[in-house]
Symmetry: C2
Subunit: 131 residues, 2 copies
Amino acid sequence: MKALKYSRQRESIKEFLADRRDHPTADTVYMNIRKLYPNISLGTVYRNLSLLASLGEIRKVSCGDGVERFDPNIVPHYHFVCRECGCVQDIPMEPLDGLETMASKGFAGAIDGHTALFYGVCNACRNKEDQ
Amino acid sequence: MKALKYSRQRESIKEFLADRRDHPTADTVYMNIRKLYPNISLGTVYRNLSLLASLGEIRKVSCGDGVERFDPNIVPHYHFVCRECGCVQDIPMEPLDGLETMASKGFAGAIDGHTALFYGVCNACRNKEDQ
DNA sequence: ATTTGTGCAAAAGCTTTGCAAGGAA
DNA sequence: TTCCTTGCAAAGCTTTTGCACAAAT
């Protein structure tokens, strides 16, 4: 395997992501990093996000809207997706232990992980509707 | 709203999907329907799959591989995704009742649905490795 | 000096859409 | 006739990639 060299672009992507709880898309990352490094390219953002994800430093999250999101929290957890605004939030709940064993019953294959997505309308959207 | 008119293309898409347990992609549907209607276009396939999904006759399934899949089974259920070949299978397990209530605890928003994806290696792939 | 990372632009996938022609009601 | 659906092609979006140059070791 190849050695990893320092890059301030990668570093700033990591730092930017670390503070975010909203699971930004590659484009959001790009738009924000550009404030600091106006010449950074979208390709570089994608390359680094992929790299960081494969290193296990961040996590790629698919929420079914055709765009990948990135999460600095690598501890297993569930997500909520708002049907109206599409925002993604963490669910304050421990992942169910033993769910994989349960799912394995009568299933032809070896299960070793799971994710869950919850759907609904976020509070911000509900407040808007009330008015 | 607009009235729905019969189309043999849509009908054949529905029939094709009805027999499948493997959650085909739009392209797979297209390739297969073409055997019957060689002039059908990919756009028509996409339009009808979207329409059928919005009518609730089929279900769009996102499995995190950047491609949408389509499922004739509209009853809520969980899916398994093979890490090696990417195949998608149904999990023989009832969706957990009360999971949404559990997830709602301490969460800012109204939850009214959920999906779950299980990961692992399917039997077909495991058998290949053994040899 | 060597090897990795970047910026730019082009290309690649998947999906959607505009439009004129065809088909159902 | 009226309105829906189709085929075709173009466009849209997100993501990946080739390449020459820049930066790190």
